[in-house]
Symmetry: C2
Subunit: 964 residues, 2 copies
């Protein structure tokens, strides 16, 4: 008999983790193997994963049945009966029945054995909470009618002292909210009915059930502190000198029950309700009320669940897995939720209830050979112990998977040899499993390839591309920052980019820890396993660069205090020295002191196959942001179809170049600047050659110099002196230049094409380097497609003038390479709101647009990404805005600018190529938006390319676009 309470609900989502927590408490941790825990814990990691896409299949299946099965006026109904093969609801009605209720109804209609019961709709929840916690009279009447049907079906009677019907009262919202709301089991017991139950199932069982009921009802409905009951139970065990509940006798429990009743009377001032109907109304009200408890509200905020959804209440006849050795309770998945392998996978406990599993005293047994793990290799299986029930279960799981056309997570109870199904739902799964299952099911023709594409959460793919931490063996978490760039990293702490580089050259694995990073740290970041910063948000320099490099990064870890002079950092009481080992998890933001074992994922054949399908379906092309030939190659392996953003300035920081850059900036006139630029040109040309070769046959968009010049200058006294000395300038000169370049709001300052307007020689050099590089590699037979991109254009005239400059330089270079077919196109970033608003004018001078949605968001939203840390989290957590607009594009606001920019641009020039190269290019939700507004491509960091390909394909499927 399975009778789970809220803690059991948690178990459903992370069975092994919960058990481990429990078993650790019980000192049984040694039984858990790392592999098993790691694999099972994955169930939690995809908590939000398969929700939306994978429900589409089931929704469609149910929708097809809807018209026929549900009569008119069904939506007016508030209480929905299910039982004996007949149900008022079905799986399509999650909105009003909640997920659990809808599936119980569906299973019932399918003829699957489900304990009879009824569901009170979510509409009643809102009514109840709005009307001062009162259940409408007609709902009470309908409940009593439904209850009578249950009595009939079970041949029991609610409150009958001889054959008492007991029920469970559970919440069930549209979206799964594990453990967030309250549940009451064994309802219907009182001084009379407990004797009837005793006669039917034994004294000990009856009083244990009654004890559990009083405790649960007292806690959930009457507000009696949980620990008051626990203390009494502990006392009973001490008196009897036993360790476990199960060792208490019927008499012991009878005394405990008496004391429990007294505790309730004392605490609440009234006796425990003995009238089963009063119990029922109390429990229903408590479940509805729990929709508004703090925990539930916080959970909804975190998971974007609207308050107005409400929860349904499921009242269901109790069945018991703990009435004897012919009883059991268990959980199973129709396929392996960790790996996606196609076999029936589950565990069970004989003569047990959900609670017993939670207690962690007994290790669940595997349901079959395939489900065996290291710690269960000697335990008997359900298949062997109860072959009949197992055969029934197999028949049912197969039927359910076929019916729902998705992997199912099922709960069952066997009472006296009879199998009852308590729940079915689409099973949560790891990203790897999601891919495997989707591809397998499409191959099995259970679903179409398009459905397979929709089944995988693009965001979850990140898991497949980065190492993860084996949490079971990880050291404790000492701090938490922002999960700025996914993946786990382990290394020795270093506090400077120089040390990172030096130590890495010596073969060390290092974690670079900085208050914040700056472009000067790039080489050191490259040399590190991961980056940890004390300041900065999801789009700080560290975060953006790390994502581009595919490095793990935890950013904005506020508790971290670095003492560069001492080469130590303090995190609370911990003092970490340079060279100490540190583990960071860029997927969760966790920081661990010491070394955690990491698991490097393997990309299987299913992944490749799915990716090939996406390429056939999607219209939107996917490029990458890459500044080096190495990045370009990685991205190409991930399927990038070009470079959408190559930032020339990142090349400027390499040693041996930065001095020439500084010389250029410190130049007092144009000719001195041109001298310095002449030194830079061959270096830039070399960079471009490498990138063009790596992207042979694919387009490469090179952005001309964008950041304000002061970013390239030294800032510390020491550096200033060094630079002055190296360039033969006075320290005063350098300082003066620094001061004159200082800006209050550099984001809105002298950068981007404004540099090209005021110092045309800089852009001329870059255009020359690009064109020369292109002509040179073309001579070697490389198919080169350069695109020159002008940043920060706000007014069409800027682009007009700079285009003329670029065209002049290109013509000069072409004259030096007679016979070359290289023809760079010229386009612009659309990243200033004004540019989007006047895109029709700008398009006259542009071969392409590339939306820079990072800056467009910063300016359009008045939101400096580097400074938003002081208030943006409060906005997102407080529900003021639905999501961080730097993670997913703000469709309502900034999205309008993108849409307008595309429309206006194409109005002027129908063949205008339009893409996006901000961080949003790698965010699935944003990619879907970009597909909707008709962009030609997105560009994202190399490691996001597969996500973007999948998201683009999903958009095509949803939008019904023709495949290209």
């Amino acid at each position: 008999m399975s009778a789970r309470k809220k803690t059991t609900a948690k178990k459903a989502s992370k069975p092994a983790a919960a058990r481990r927590a429990a078993s650790t408490r019980a000192g049984a941790g040694k039984r858990q193997t790392a592999r098993r825990a790691g694999a099972k814990a994955a169930g939690k990691q995809v908590a939000k994963a398969s929700g939306k896409p994978s429900s589409a299949g089931a929704g469609r299946a149910a929708a097809g049945a809807r018209g026929g099965r549900r009569g008119p006026g069904a939506t007016q109904r508030k209480v929905f009966y299910f039982g004996g093969g007949r149900a008022d609801g079905d799986a399509s009605m999650k909105e009003i029945l909640g997920g659990k209720g809808a599936n119980l109804a569906e299973m019932t209609s399918l003829g699957i054995p489900v304990p009879p019961g009824f569901t009170i709709s979510t509409a009643v929840c809102l009514e109840f909470n709005e009307r001062g916690k009162r259940l409408p009279a007609e709902v009470r009447a309908d409940v009593l009618t439904a209850l009578a049907n249950v009595e009939k079906e079970m041949n029991l009677r609610f409150g009958d002292p001889e054959r008492p019907l007991l029920v469970s009262v559970r919440s069930g919202a549209r979206a799964s909210m594990p453990g967030m709301m309250d549940t009451v089991l064994n309802l219907g017991l009182n001084g009379d009915t407990v004797r009837g139950l005793a006669a039917m199932a034994g004294e000990r069982f009856a009083y244990d059930s009654y004890r559990r009921f009083i405790q649960m009802y007292g806690d959930v409905v009457l507000g009696v502190p949980h620990d008051r009951f626990e203390h009494r139970l502990d006392a009973a065990k001490r008196e009897r000198d036993v360790a476990d509940d199960v060792d208490l006798t019927a008499d012991d429990l009878r005394r405990v029950v008496a004391d429990y009743l007294e505790i309730v009377r004392e605490t609440t001032g009234t006796p425990f309700p003995q009238d089963p109907q009063a119990q029922l109304w109390g429990a229903i009200g408590a479940v509805f009320s729990s929709w508004e408890n703090q925990r539930a509200i916080a959970y909804r905020r975190l998971n974007d669940i609207p308050d107005h959804w409400g929860t349904a209440v499921n009242v269901q006849s109790m069945v018991f897995g703990n009435m004897g050795d012919d009883c059991a309770t268990g959980v199973a998945f129709t396929r392996n939720p960790s790996t996606g392998e196609k076999f029936f996978y589950g565990e069970y406990l004989k003569n047990a209830q959900g609670e017993d599993v939670v207690a962690g005293i007994r290790t669940p047994q595997p349901i079959n050979e395939a489900s065996r793990a290291e710690d269960t290799k000697d335990l008997p299986t359900l298949e062997r112990e109860m072959p009949k029930a197992y055969r029934d279960l197999v028949a049912i799981y197969k039927r359910l998977e076929r019916h729902y056309r998705d992997m199912q997570d099922i709960e069952f109870t066997i009472q006296s040899g009879k199998l009852w199904m308590l729940q079915t739902r689409n099973g949560k799964r790891t990203a790897g499993a999601a891919v495997r299952i989707a591809v397998d099911m499409a191959r099995e023709k259970l679903i179409t390839k398009e459905e397979a594409i929709l089944r995988v959460d693009a965001n979850a793919l990140d898991q497949l591309l980065h190492p993860t931490i084996d949490k079971s063996q990880a050291p404790p978490v000492i701090a938490r920052g922002l999960p700025a760039s996914p993946g786990a990293a382990v290394g020795e702490v270093v506090f400077s980019a120089e040390h990172a580089e030096a130590r890495a050259k010596g073969g060390a694995k290092v974690i670079l820890v900085r208050t914040e990073t700056s472009p000067e740290d790039i080489v050191g970041m490259h040399a590190s396993q991961g980056i940890l910063t004390a300041k900065g948000g999801m789009t700080s320099h560290a975060a953006v660069v790390a994502r581009g490099m595919g490095k793990s990064c935890v950013a904005g870890c506020g508790v971290l205090i670095i003492d560069y002079a001492q080469a130590t950092m303090r995190i609370g009481e911990h003092v970490v020295r340079e060279g100490d080992w540190l583990t960071i998890d860029g997927s969760s933001g966790e920081v661990m002191l010491g070394r955690a074992p990491t698991v490097v994922p393997e990309l299987g054949g299913a992944f490749s196959e799915l990716m090939q399908w996406t390429d056939k379906v999607r219209k939107l092309r996917v490029r990458t942001n890459a500044d080096t030939p190495q990045d370009a190659e990685v991205a190409r392996r991930f399927g990038a179809e070009g470079i959408g953003l190559c930032r020339t300035e990142h090349m400027f920081f390499e040693p041996g170049r930065i001095l020439a850059v500084r010389e250029m900036i410190l130049a007092s006139d144009t000719s001195a600047r041109e001298l310095a630029l002449a030194k830079l040109r061959p270096m830039q040309r070399g960079d471009f050659e490498g990138i063009f070769r790596a992207m042979d046959g694919l387009p490469v968009t090179v952005r001309l110099l964008d950041p304000p010049l002061h970013e390239f200058l030294p800032h510390t006294d020491e550096d200033i002196q060094a630079v002055a000395a190296a360039l033969g300038r006075s320290v005063g000169d350098v300082r003066h230049k620094l001061e004159s370049l200082h800006e209050f709001n550099p984001m809105l300052g002298h950068r981007g094409c404004r540099l090209g307007i005021t110092f045309p020689e800089i852009y001329a050099m870059q255009v020359r380097a690009i064109t020369e590089a292109a002509c040179r590699v073309a001579e070697d037979g490389v198919k080169v497609r350069p695109e020159i991109m002008i940043p920060l254009v706000a007014h069409a005239r800027e682009l007009e003038r700079l285009r003329a400059l670029a065209e002049k330089v290109i013509a000069e270079v072409r004259a030096e390479f007679p016979g070359t077919r290289v023809r760079p196109t010229i386009g612009t970033m659309i990243e200033v709101p004004r540019a989007a608003l006047t895109a029709d004018e700008i398009a006259h001078h542009a071969d392409f647009f590339s939306f820079g949605t990072n800056d467009l968001t910063q300016m359009g939203y008045a939101l400096s990404r580097d400074d938003a840390g002081n208030f943006l989290p409060a906005y997102v957590d407080g529900g003021l805005i639905p999501a961080d607009p730097f993670v997913s594009i703000d469709e309502e606001g900034i999205g309008q600018l993108v849409k307008l920019g595309v429309e206006l641009g194409r109005k002027t020039r129908a063949d205008l190529k339009v893409g996006v190269c901000g961080e949003h290019g790698g965010d699935p939700a944003s990619v879907r938006f970009f597909a909707k507004v008709g962009l030609d491509y997105v560009s994202c960091s190399p490691y996001r390319v597969p996500l973007a390909r999948l998201a683009a394909a999903q958009a095509s499927v949803v939008l019904g676009s023709a495949p290209r």
Copy 2:
């Protein structure tokens, strides 16, 4: 005989100034009185003033005549004859004939004596310059035909050795471009015709004319350096030992002519052209070419004149004012251009040419008694010397003024007693004269009141509201900055706000000189006469605050180097110490070492009357930006109809408050913050009471706290220590707070309503102070209309939440004042692009919108006003963008956001009140735009209120809105 060349053209626009320059050269400066120079120089100050609005009247008059007079195909014509009462063109055809040509045609048609001639249209100019400087053959043919008509009319023949026709060849563009393009006089003279001329008008006159012609033609057409001719002429005078040209005899001049011809031959390699037709083609070509000379191009850039307008060429029969004592040349205005008084005002020279006036040897004589000045009080008048010609002139000027319905600036020449008109045009005038003339003419029913309103350039009103410098007695200009806040100021230099305050208390007049100002300097700025800064643009802190206070300010004076420690500043070679006298002119940006006399303007009855008319015509209301009762009173006197922006934070900087503000910021938790806020509340309440009383009956919009908190914290070590000591905190605490509040882009950071979201107690305090103040003054019978404005809203949810907060506080206060009728409305700034884009959502929670177009421009254009100094000037000067978008709103880009915001807002809420409170609210061009998009009001600094009223009325007239 009047024969003016380019220097004469200059004279027309600034007669006295040019004369002064000339007479100073000749050592005759003593004759110029300060009053006269000042008054006449005003002609230059309004160089751009009356252009657009005042031309409307004449344009309309002429347009009425257009249909009747001009035949079909007239626009195809390229050469337009005028003479003998018949003209091909008219005054409406400025576009193709230029201003001069159109008016010559118009005068001819009116039967006014104009030397006959013809105009070659502006279209030919473009053709000429595009076709490699070649005159099309059909144009040459038409020119010869027109020339034949002139010959007939004058009974002279071009090139005829006995009765030679001489012509002038002058440029004449659509807009007046004084002195920018070339002119050739006396064309048609050669070795033969000079003898014919000698026979007709005397030897000396003929050879002097020939000399002048060769010199002018040589310079303008043949490119012979001007000084080569001058040297020769000087040599002739030295030989003859005379000082002036007039003392040279006919023989002397004959020799000079021979040498001039030789100079031309030597320099150009070919002889001076003797064929009059060749001379004519050369001169026409030179004038057309001069449209593209550097000077002309630069002038067009400065004055927003499009390149494609081109210039016309006027070829006109010469008449001579220098043929004897019955000859004269002169200039007159139909009313006094300095004061606007209604009398005929002008000056002339007997037996003279324009050049003689420029030479400054003779003082021009007044044309009548009324035109007499100090230095001309003993000279005979034209009225007395040539009564017949004077009577003719009076009849003509009256007719012209009636015809053109505007004050005319006319040029005339009297040749042998006969009056010839050479030019008429709407006369330039000072702002004061413009007001007086417009009001007088409307009273005289010459124009309507609406036309009177259009006649005054709103920008020029600034002159009337601020002291001006008497330039004739001003010390030399030692530096130039941005004209950041108009008006002249004189005072002793101080280098700190504290000193400014202290010295001012002691009765001193001071000029505050700072590298840049910050909010802490406000009290010191108030105490100063004017502010001079080394850094910052037109919308820097100093500029904005000074304009708000109506103080003179010169900002961004880059050459200024301040040494605070030594209390000195360096400007080039000048070292200025604290206490030295300094004069600044915030209208021109000039900085003068020493004390200049200033003239305080008087606002006459005409001004008041015009302002009353504007109030009847305009729909747009005009409010003011004011933070103190004093500012509010000033603005009210200027006609402000409410406060559109009261910045609460400006009150925070007053001594005795800033400490409480800092305590609030440094508070470690909410309750500590509330304690500090409780200290601030009575102070804020007091401020609001004062403002509400000052604005009795008018609405007052109070903006809640907007700037980032770090703006209120100390920054120097000394200040940090002082604050820490005063608040009993450690220096480390204060420093830590400073660091944690540091922002990379504060413009896009933690400010505005984000403070209200994260620290609701701050906004709650402010709303309470506002409401309490309103209820208190209401009890005294003051009619109070408070409006609470939430800044920096980007998302509707922000306003929703803060509105709820404000409403709660208001309800609380209202409960404390039972019976109060005070009901503050609640609205928001629209200053974030996203807010404009989602204004429909935001309007659900707003009673009013107020566009903050400063910030909207900064964000929408990606343009930090504090940082734009490094590139924006290059943009404006280089013609990349038409105007500084912080001065006049960028209609094409940012204007779209305003328009969209208004439309979306009113879509949600038709009665939404919409205003603007950025700096643009005081810019006439922007005000016209705001009227066009349907705003209800603009709000500007007190001293801009009259400008805004006038501009708003002009918009109503132009848009044809019904008067309110």
